[in-house]
Each structure stands twice: as structure tokens, then as C-alpha cells.
Symmetry: C2
Subunit: 190 residues, 2 copies
């Protein structure tokens, strides 16, 4: 295990993989030691607040990644291209359905509701940005808002199915729906 870690952000990838896969309660300090190659004392050097601070850092990091790869394209690119960029980013982030979402598992786990501010902000920001793009694509404000909820929900429902079936195919099909039919989807379900 590489032992050249010097910065807090170098730990975030390992932490993210752990929390997205096991949830907050499922991650132990021992598992973090094993995954990061750092001993307990070093982890507390970077995160004096312990496990809760590590989870918060992961949520903030994923949020920042989404802002760059999803929110900003939705806001700044032409609507059709912004949504295509979003699809690519989501596919990358969730490894095409082979990996989970830390926000999803935290949302379903009751004790993780101490992170509810992050959860609400993540999904509402995303929905707002997507609705904005659909608005610019010509949909009505009401329809755009509804379609954004349906499109994001479709991705997360498929993610649950893919994790449950241990098969990335459902998530892949949700991505295909997003790419091929997002306009029809939005109007058909409004």
C-alpha cells in the first residue's frame, strides 16, 4: 500500500468507495485503515471529527464533482448537450450501475439523516438544474420540474434494481432511456 499520502484529499477516493458501498454504519475505522493504508492516528490527524467528518467530506467531494460534471453543463451548455453530458457523468460516477451512490444509501438509512442538509441540497440542486435545461428546451415550467424529478428518479430506481439484481443492465437501460428519449420521457410523464 502506498504510504506517500500527505493530503486530506488523497484519502477521499478510498473513503468514497467505502461509504458508497457500505453506508455510514457499515464502515468501521478498521476498514478505513485497511482501505487507506493509514493508521488510526493519521486518519484523525486529517479528520479530527472522526468518521462523521470523513462522511461529510465525502458528501462534499461528490457534490463538488457533480457540480462540475453535471450541474454546470446543465446550466451552461445547450440543453440537449447538457443532458448528454449529464448522462455520461452519471454513467462514469456509478460505474454504469456497478457501484452505488453515497447519497442514495444515506437517504435510505435513518441514522444518516444527520446528513439531511447535504442530501436535500444534492438532489434539489440537480433537479433545479435539469429542470432549467428542460425549460430552455421548450418545456413549460411545471412540465420541466416534473420531468426532471422523473428522469433523476428513473436513474436511482434503476440503480436500486441493478444493485439488488447484481446486474448493471437495468441501470444501463435507464441511461439509454435518458439519452434516447429524454424529451419524450419528460412530456409523457408530466
Amino acid at each position: 500500500m502506498a504510504r506517500s499520502i500527505a493530503e486530506r484529499k488523497d484519502l477521499l477516493p478510498a473513503l468514497t468507495e467505502l461509504f458508497r458501498a457500505e453506508g455510514f454504519e457499515g464502515v468501521s475505522l478498521s476498514s478505513i485503515e485497511a482501505a487507506s493504508g493509514l493508521a488510526r492516528g493519521s486518519l484523525y490527524h486529517f479528520f479530527p471529527g472522526g468518521k462523521a467528518e470523513m462522511a461529510t467530506a465525502v458528501l462534499a467531494d461528490v457534490e463538488a464533482w457533480f457540480h462540475e460534471h453535471v450541474i454546470a453543463p446543465l446550466e451552461n451548455e445547450p440543453a440537449e448537450r447538457g443532458i448528454a453530458t449529464m448522462a455520461d457523468a452519471v454513467e462514469t460516477c456509478f460505474a454504469g450501475g456497478r457501484k452505488g451512490c453515497v447519497f442514495a444509501i444515506f437517504a435510505l438509512a435513518g441514522k444518516s439523516q444527520r446528513f439531511s442538509e447535504h442530501l436535500k441540497r444534492f438532489f434539489s440542486t440537480w433537479q433545479e438544474a435539469l429542470a432549467g435545461a428542460l425549460l430552455r428546451a421548450g418545456q413549460s415550467p411545471v412540465a420541466a420540474q416534473a420531468a426532471a424529478e422523473v428522469l433523476i428518479g428513473d436513474l436511482y430506481g434503476a440503480l436500486v434494481l441493478s444493485r439488488a439484481m447484481d446486474d448493471p443492465a437495468p441501470f444501463g437501460r435507464a441511461l439509454a432511456r435518458l439519452r434516447a428519449h429524454h424529451a419524450a420521457l419528460g412530456t409523457a410523464l408530466a
Copy 2:
């Protein structure tokens, strides 16, 4: 706390609420003692296999409930009515979006993959039954299969959003979509 518990199945409601809300790792024997009103020794009297056996019993119990209130109606009632019955059952089971699904949180939590047989069976049985109803409603085999996945995914995606936003409305809207547009939905997204 009532102390007249004499049967294993009397414990299942409390266990179900615990596991669906906190996930497997989030539930402790102490919390089960508090929720059930029974002491440790009594719990192990009913579930010698401990927490894992309790979780398995919950999964089997929810599965049985779904078989009665969802699967059987989908198989035995006319398609339209079977789907309407399914919508009512799902609304009841998840308290209109105010409560989670034990299969969903287990699906997202990596360590709960030891229950993967239950997870796969639950969702595949449901999808098969729903696809069968859509088939009888006149859809093609391929379209029925795809639409069943989309309809179930729509519900679970909305459940994630409702839990994340702490707002039952997204799940309520998914139920409304299921009830009002399930035929259009199935064909629009095939």
C-alpha cells in the same frame, strides 16, 4: 410495553420497522430490545441465529406480504385491476413515501449482499408478475418486460427521492403516474 409476546411472528412488525429504517448494520440488539420490549435472551429464544436470522425472517415476511397483496393480484386479477391493487398495496407498505423498503436499503448496502438471494427473488418475482399482467393487457413480451422494470424502478427512484428530501410527495407522484398512465408509460419507455 406489552409483555404478552409468545410467538416469533409477533416480533416481526417491530423488526421490520427497524431494519427498513436503519438497514442491517444500523440495527443493534439493544435497539431491538427497546423496540420489542423483550430482553436479549428472549430474542435468541425465538431467533437462535441472532440478528441475521431476524433479518432473514423480516425479508421472508415482507416477501409473503407482497406475494399476497401484489403478486397474486397481478397474476389472478384482470391486468388493469391487478395493477391498481398493486398501487394500493405499495402505497400502504411504504406509507405513501414516509417509510423505506427493507429490500432497497439492503440492496444498496454492500454487506447485506449476503441476503442477495432474497433481493433477487423479490424484485424478479415482482417484475415477472407485472410483466405478465402487461402482457395480458396487450403489450408485446419485450415491451411488457421493459415496462415492468420501468414501473418498478420509477417507484423505487421516487422512494429514494422522498427519503432524501424527507418529503413523501415524489413517491406520491410516482404512485399517481402508475395509476393514471401505466399503459402510456409502458409503451412510451419501451
